[in-house]
């Protein structure tokens, strides 16, 4: 799995450990966060206004094609969020990175919510275009499985009295679930599905007319920045809350000793 190879080389390890220091993370993330929020809101606003009011209608779908500008970013983030979760899991399992545990626990709910929006907007798009809210084809089913994986991770991480065991179990579940990502990506090529194949790929030009494509680039980048902002902010809160718990625990043990 390619997500593992990216963290395997030994050189970046030192870098990771520098950011593993929670104090360092709080300082750095505090500086970055306003920029993430600001640029995310700006790009999303440009994309949404462009898409809703200025982009032309599709010749077949009419104005329903505007749902693309929100559906596609959320579909991309459902998968990209899971890749981040898997990277955190590797960092947690192999390098026992303390920040990765917190980040994974905070990523789960955000990823699940974004996947739910992807499914819901897809449904709202499917009814007027295909004629059905939902079909059990390979693409829709595999994204639904992704949603269940997120829910399983959320539950598992919080299921143990000892948080470390929860993080460990959650990381293993997240890595097992990585197998679902290529299935989602290639389901539309491997099997007959009602869902159409990808319009934008690494190879070949996109099969969306340029006038329809521009707003999509803006909303995709904008929502991605917002996803990152929310995740970083939640991880910050997680670090602070853990520090509060540790301080309180130290206080109670001091009180019982004296």
């Amino acid at each position: 799995m390619d997500t593992r190879q990216t963290v395997a080389p030994p050189r970046p390890v030192k870098l990771f450990h520098r950011f593993a220091n929670p104090g360092q993370f709080l300082r750095l993330s505090g500086r970055v966060l306003p920029w993430l929020y600001g640029s995310g809101v700006l790009l999303t606003a440009i994309g949404v206004i462009w898409g809703l009011f200025f982009a032309p209608d599709d010749w077949q779908q009419g104005d329903t094609v505007k749902i693309m500008y929100v559906h596609v970013p959320f579909a991309w983030l459902a998968s990209a969020g899971y890749v981040s979760l898997a990277i955190c899991s590797v960092l947690s399992l192999i390098w026992r990175h303390p920040l990765a545990d917190l980040a994974a626990a905070e990523l789960g709910p955000v990823g699940a919510a974004f996947t739910a929006v992807c499914l819901a907007t897809g449904s709202l798009w499917g009814k007027p275009t295909w004629g059905a809210w939902w079909v059990w084809d390979a693409r829709l089913t595999s994204v639904f499985v992704l949603f269940l994986l997120y829910l399983g991770h959320i539950a598992l991480v919080r299921a143990f009295d000892d948080p470390t065991r929860g993080y460990r179990a959650g990381a293993i579940l997240a890595l097992v679930g990585v197998i679902n990502l290529p299935i989602i990506k290639f389901s539309v090529n491997w099997w007959n599905t009602l869902h159409q194949p990808a319009s934008i790929g690494l190879t070949g030009a996109p099969t969306i007319a340029a006038s329809l494509l521009w707003p999509l680039l803006f909303t995709t980048l904008g929502f991605t920045l917002l996803f990152a902002a929310i995740t970083v902010a939640r991880t910050r809160a997680g670090v602070m809350e853990r520090r509060i718990r540790m301080l309180l625990m130290a206080k109670t043990s001091e009180a019982s000793q004296s």
């Binding site: 077949q60 275009t129 099997w191 007959n192 194949p197 007319a209 494509l213």
Partner: protein, 164 residues
């Protein structure tokens, strides 16, 4: 061996095992994962009265909408090699047209006609504004009812002025 390296190796081994297991399972079940069968697949078997999904393109010039009280249509679904006559009583989706991909749910009758209870329009991966389609039609580069559009390099060139 360092403990970290050991953990990494264990993880890689588990991943490789899991990936191959999933790959084998998927290839074994790939027939069951198919959402619809094509007209040529349908021609291979005799009608068995079971409900199934048939997917293909609405053949050009074969759509007859039922006139009168209720909505409905007769049309041929083709995959280029074989075609199947489909009858349907009900409202067709907005995207239904000649040359469009469709997936119909129904039963193949003994006479080979496919009686549909549901028609879904399949959208392809191409998105373009009306002006671009009109330009392509005008220049004779694409007739929408005859199949997929030409490569996007052809139609994205005239689309650029509209985008800026």
């Amino acid at each position: 061996m360092k403990r970290k390296t050991k953990r990494l190796l264990i993880l890689l081994a588990c991943g490789a095992g899991l990936a191959s297991a999933a790959g084998l399972t998927l290839s074994a079940f790939s027939d069951n994962l198919v959402f619809f069968v094509s007209p040529s697949d349908l021609g291979k078997n005799t009608p068995n009265g079971r409900q199934m999904r048939l997917g293909g393109m609405v053949e050009q010039g074969t759509v007859e909408r039922t006139s009168g009280g209720h909505a409905g249509a007769r049309f041929k679904v083709t995959d280029g090699k074989a075609d199947v006559m489909v009858t349907y009583n009900g409202l067709l989706p907005d995207l239904f047209r000649e040359g469009q991909g469709v997936v119909v749910l129904g039963v193949e009758q003994p006479d080979g006609v496919f009686k549909a209870s549901e028609v879904l329009a399949k959208h392809d991966e191409n998105y373009m504004p009306k002006e671009v389609v009109d330009a392509l039609k005008k220049s004779g580069e694409w007739n929408p009812s005859s199949g997929s559009p030409p490569p996007n390099a052809v139609w994205n060139a005239p689309a650029k002025p509209a985008g800026s």
